[in-house]
C-alpha cells in the first residue's frame, strides 16, 4: 500500500452535501431485498429446535421419528457439525452456540434442526424430535453468578488475570484492570466523595429484521449463502471453518440489512442452514422468529457497577475508581474489559483505577451492541459525576468542563490523547439553547458525556469507470447506515465529478478481497479511505490515457475538477479532457479504466459526545415522557450530514428505550418471560420527541478528509443523561436501568417513606 492517510485540510465540493439516499426508493417501495426476500428453486424451509431449559445435560436426542415424516429432507444435531475448530476456543464457543454439544446452556439454545418442504412439515418434525434432558441448576443474575455457591456453568473455566492462578473453576472467566496513579492517595486529597452501586438489565439490539439466510451447498462442495449480516466476509470465514470448507468455495452475498447494531456480527443460523443444505442436497432458507431472535441471539450484557469518585472543593477530581461486572452469557467474553477501558475516558485524571469481571450466566451469548459495554459504564460514572458536581456545588456542565480530557491527557485506559472533541462538545452543550429552556413541574434536565474508540480494519475496494463515464464503486463493507451514499460522495470528490455519476454497491465475497465487517463505526471511515486510494489509482490511469490521446508525456498531465489538463505553455492549445471523454476513448487507449485499493485502515480517531435530555415524571405512576433531547457529537468530518444526524438520532432513540423500558425478564425457571415486542418494549415514534443534533467537526489527523466513525458513540451517553434527568425530576437518585415506571415509583415511594 502506498497511500498517505494524513489529513490534508482540503476544501470540499461533494463531501458535506446532502444528496438523496440511493437506497431510499427501493426501501420505501418494498423493492429492496432483505434477508428473507431471497428465494432459490427447490428451496426447503429450515427450523431449529431450542432448549426450553436454562441449563441441562442432553442425555440423548432421538430424531428417528422426525426423519420418517414425509416431507422432511434433513435433520441435524451437533453430530452433523463436528468440531473442526482446531483448538480455537472462541470459534468452539461459536460452534457450541450454533448447536448445543452435550449441554444446553440457556433457554433458547439450539439442540437440533430440520429442513422440510414447507414450514408446517418442519414444525411438525420439530415436535417429533425427542430430547432427553437432565436438568441442572442455573443462574441468570450477574451478581448471583459470582457467588461461590452459584451453579458452575463450565467447570473448565478458571479465572484469568489473577495474580495467583486459581485452583477452583469459576463463573468469572477473566479479571482485567486499567488505570494509573494512586487512587488511595487521590481520595485522601478529596473534599467530597461520591460512592454508589448501579445495575443495568440485559437488552437486545432490537433490529427490526430478524436473522435470515438462504444456503445452498452443491454436490461438488461449492456453496452460496445469501444472508443479512454486518460482515459477509467474516461470515464466510466462520462458516467455512465450522463446516470444513475452503473459503473460496463459499460465496456469501449480503442482503439489505434491517438493523444490526452489532447483533449481526456473529453467526448463529448460517452454519446450521449450510449443514442442513449439505445434508438435504437442496437450498435451505432459515429465518428466525422474533421469539428466537430474543431467546437465542444478540443481547448485550447485564451489569453491576460500583463507582467511587472524589473531588476537591474547587471541582477538580482527585481520584476515580470503578468495579464493573458484566454478564457474557455462557461463553467467555471481554465485555467488562471494554467497560473498564471506557468508563472514565472522558476525564483528565491523575489517579484512576478500573477493574472488570467477565461473568458466565445461563443467558444467550452476549453480542456487541453499538459501542459495546460503554453505555453501562457511562451510566454509572456519569450518574456519580452529576451527584459529585452537586456535592461540590458546581453546575454539572462546568464540573465536566473543568475535568474534561484534552489533547495530551493520559487517557484512563492508557495512551495519551491526540486532538479530541470532549471539551468542544461540552462547550457546545453549555451554550446550546436547550440548556436554558425553562422546565415545568415534575420535569428534570440531565446531561452526560460519552466516549467510544472507533476502529478501522482490513478493507478492499474496486472503482470501475464505464465506457460512458459513469463510475461503479464496489465495496466490501456492508451498508448499515448510509455508506453507499457517503462513499459515492467521496468517489465524486476525488474524481471531481457529480455524485449522480457514481453508483456504489456492496460486492459479494467472490468479487472483492477480504473486508472486515462493518463494526466499530468503521464503515465510512475505512471504506472512504480505500475509495480515495482507488480513485487516486484510477486518476493515475486516466492521466496516462489522456497523455496517449494527446500524444504527450503523462508527466505533463494533471487532474483537476474531473478533467485531464495539459500543463505548460507548450500544450497551451490543448483543451481539457473530461473523465467521460477519456472513458469513451478507453477501448482504443488500453482498455477498461479502473482503480483498486486494498489497505488496513488504522488510526481511527476516538469520538466523544454530550447529550442533554428533559424528562417529565408522573409522581403518581412513575411514568415518564421525554420532552426534549439534544445530541452534540464530534464527527471529524460529516461526509453526508443527514446520515450523520440519523446516526446521532438512532443512538439516542435506542438509548432512550434502554434507559426507560427495555429489559430481559427471566423467571425463576431461567426462562425468558418477554421474548416479543409486545412485552419487550422498544420506543415507537410516539414515545420520542424530535431529537435535535449538532455536528462538530474536529478533524481526525489520520484520515485524508478528517473522518471519524459516528455510528456508535451516540448510544453511550443516553442512559446516564436520562438517569440524571429522571433523578432531577423525581428528586431521587435512580441507580437501576431500565427506569421503568414501577422502579421509578418504588424509588419515589421509598423516598417519601424516608
Amino acid at each position: 500500500m502506498n497511500f498517505d492517510p494524513r489529513f490534508s485540510g482540503r476544501k470540499f465540493t461533494s463531501v458535506g452535501t446532502r444528496p438523496i439516499r440511493p437506497d431510499g426508493v427501493d426501501k420505501v417501495t418494498g423493492r429492496a431485498r432483505y434477508g428473507a426476500d431471497f428465494n432459490m428453486a427447490g428451496q426447503l424451509v429450515g427450523r431449529v429446535l431450542r432448549s426450553p431449559h436454562a441449563h441441562a445435560k442432553i442425555r440423548k436426542i432421538d430424531t428417528s421419528k422426525a426423519e420418517k415424516l414425509p416431507g422432511v429432507k434433513a435433520v441435524i444435531t451437533a453430530a452433523d457439525l463436528p468440531d473442526l475448530t482446531d483448538g480455537d476456543a472462541a470459534m468452539y464457543d461459536v460452534l457450541d452456540n450454533c448447536m448445543a454439544r452435550g449441554k444446553a446452556l440457556y433457554d433458547g439454545h439450539a439442540v437440533a434442526a430440520v429442513a422440510a418442504v414447507d414450514a408446517r412439515t418442519a414444525r411438525q418434525a420439530l415436535k417429533l424430535i425427542e430430547v432427553d434432558y437432565e436438568l441442572l441448576p442455573h443462574v441468570t443474575d450477574v451478581d448471583e453468578a459470582m457467588k461461590h455457591s452459584a451453579p458452575l456453568i463450565n467447570d473448565a473455566i478458571f479465572t484469568e488475570g489473577l495474580e495467583e492462578k486459581p485452583v477452583k473453576p469459576s463463573n468469572v472467566t477473566k479479571r482485567s484492570q486499567f488505570g494509573h496513579g494512586d487512587v488511595h492517595q487521590g481520595f485522601g486529597h478529596a473534599d467530597f466523595i461520591v460512592e454508589r452501586s448501579f445495575k443495568t438489565e440485559q437488552t437486545h439490539q432490537g433490529y427490526i429484521e430478524p436473522h435470515a439466510c438462504v444456503a445452498s451447498v452443491s454436490s461438488d462442495g461449492t456453496a452460496d449463502l445469501w444472508v443479512c449480516t454486518q460482515g459477509h466476509f467474516v461470515y464466510r470465514q466462520h462458516c467455512a471453518q465450522l463446516l470444513g470448507m475452503e473459503a473460496s468455495k463459499l460465496r456469501v452475498t449480503s442482503s439489505e440489512i434491517g438493523g444490526g447494531f452489532g447483533g449481526k456480527t456473529h453467526v448463529w443460523a448460517e452454519p446450521v442452514a449450510l449443514a442442513l443444505s449439505r445434508k438435504a442436497g437442496r437450498p435451505v432458507k432459515l429465518v428466525m422468529t422474533r421469539d428466537e431472535v430474543f431467546r437465542a441471539s444478540g443481547p448485550t450484557s447485564a451489569t453491576s457497577v460500583d463507582v467511587r469518585i472524589g473531588a476537591r472543593k474547587d471541582g477538580t477530581i482527585t481520584a476515580a475508581e470503578a468495579t464493573l461486572r458484566y454478564s457474557c452469557g455462557p461463553y467467555a467474553g471481554s465485555w467488562a474489559e471494554i467497560g473498564a477501558m471506557t468508563a472514565f475516558a472522558c476525564y483528565r485524571l491523575d489517579n484512576v483505577k478500573t477493574v472488570g469481571y467477565e461473568v458466565l450466566v445461563n443467558r444467550p451469548k452476549t453480542a456487541a451492541y453499538r459501542a459495546p459495554s460503554a453505555p453501562m459504564a457511562a451510566f454509572a460514572v456519569e450518574s456519580a459525576v452529576d451527584e459529585l458536581a452537586k456535592e461540590v456545588g458546581m453546575d454539572p456542565v462546568e464540573f465536566r468542563i473543568r475535568n474534561a480530557a484534552q489533547e495530551g491527557t493520559r487517557s484512563s485506559y492508557g495512551p495519551v490523547y491526540g486532538p479530541i472533541g470532549i471539551g468542544p462538545t461540552l462547550e457546545a452543550a453549555k451554550s446550546h439553547p436547550h440548556m436554558k429552556a425553562p422546565l415545568g413541574k415534575n420535569q428534570g434536565r440531565g446531561m452526560a458525556c460519552g466516549f467510544w474508540f472507533n476502529f478501522g480494519g482490513q478493507t478492499c475496494t474496486d472503482l470501475n469507470i464505464g465506457m460512458d463515464g459513469s463510475v461503479s464503486l464496489a465495496v466490501g463493507t456492508v451498508d448499515v447506515g448510509g455508506s453507499r451514499a457517503s462513499l459515492s460522495l467521496v468517489a465524486a470528490e476525488e474524481l471531481g465529478i457529480a455524485y449522480e455519476q457514481v453508483k456504489a454497491i456492496v460486492a459479494d465475497t467472490s468479487s472483492l478481497g477480504y473486508n472486515d465487517m462493518t463494526d466499530g463505526s468503521r464503515g465510512t471511515f475505512s471504506s472512504s479511505m480505500a475509495t480515495i486510494s482507488a480513485a487516486r489509482n484510477a486518476i493515475k490511469i486516466l492521466r496516462e490515457r489522456a497523455a496517449q490521446m494527446w500524444d504527450i508525456s503523462v508527466d505533463d498531465v494533471v487532474w483537476e475538477n474531473g478533467h485531464a489538463i495539459a500543463k505548460g505553455e507548450k500544450h497551451g492549445n490543448l483543451g481539457r479532457l473530461s473523465l467521460k471523454e477519456i472513458a469513451v476513448a478507453s477501448g482504443k487507449t488500453g482498455g477498461p479504466i479502473a482503480g483498486h485499493s486494498e489497505l488496513v485502515a488504522d488510526g481511527a480517531g476516538v469520538s466523544f459526545a454530550t447529550h442533554i435530555c428533559d424528562i417529565e415524571v408522573d409522581p403518581e405512576t412513575g411514568a415518564t415522557r421525554v420532552l426534549r433531547y439534544t445530541v452534540v457529537q464530534d464527527a471529524g468530518k460529516a461526509v453526508h450530514p443527514t446520515y450523520v444526524e440519523g446516526q446521532y438520532q438512532g443512538g439516542a432513540a435506542q438509548g432512550i428505550g434502554w434507559a426507560l423500558n427495555e429489559e430481559y425478564i427471566y423467571g425463576k425457571d431461567g426462562r425468558l418471560q418477554n421474548p416479543g415486542f409486545l412485552d419487550y418494549r422498544i420506543p415507537v415514534c410516539s414515545d420520542l420527541p424530535m431529537i435535535d443534533t449538532q455536528i462538530l467537526e474536529i478533524p481526525n489527523p489520520n484520515h485524508p478528509y478528517g473522518v471519524r466513525g459516528v455510528g456508535e458513540t451516540s448510544i453511550v451517553p443516553p442512559l446516564a443523561a436520562i438517569a440524571n434527568a429522571v433523578s432531577n425530576a423525581a428528586g431521587v437518585r435512580m441507580t437501576h436501568i431500565p427506569m421503568s415506571p414501577p422502579r421509578i415509583l418504588a424509588a419515589i415511594e421509598a423516598k417519601r417513606a424516608g
Binding site: 484492570q177 456487541a368 495512551p415 480494519g457 463494526d519 455510528g711
Partner: protein
C-alpha cells in the same frame, strides 16, 4: 530501543511488569520479541492485541514503525458494534 507499557492485566502475563524495553523497529518485530522474551504473552498476542503509538491505536498495521521516543502502549483488541 522503545519503552512499551502493558495494560494492567497484560502485565501479569509478563512476570508482573507493566513496562518493558524492547529493541524493535515496527509492530511485527515488537510482537515477535515480546513473545520471545515473555512467553506468557504469546497466547494473548495470538488472540489479538492493539498497539497505541502516541495515542493512535493500530490493530492490524504490523508494518507500522515505532519511532524512537514515542509512547507505545499495548491494549486489548476491541470488539465493536
Amino acid at each position: 530501543m522503545v519503552e512499551v507499557t502493558l495494560w494492567g492485566s497484560l502485565g501479569a502475563a509478563a512476570g508482573g511488569k507493566n513496562k518493558v524495553e524492547i529493541e524493535a523497529k515496527d509492530i511485527r518485530e515488537l510482537f515477535r520479541k515480546l513473545a520471545e522474551q515473555y512467553p506468557g504473552l504469546e497466547p494473548l498476542i495470538d488472540r489479538g492485541i492493539a498497539v497505541a503509538i502516541d495515542g493512535t491505536i493500530y490493530r492490524d498495521t504490523w508494518s507500522k514503525e515505532l519511532p524512537e521516543g514515542s509512547e507505545i502502549f499495548l491494549l486489548p483488541r476491541l470488539a465493536g458494534g
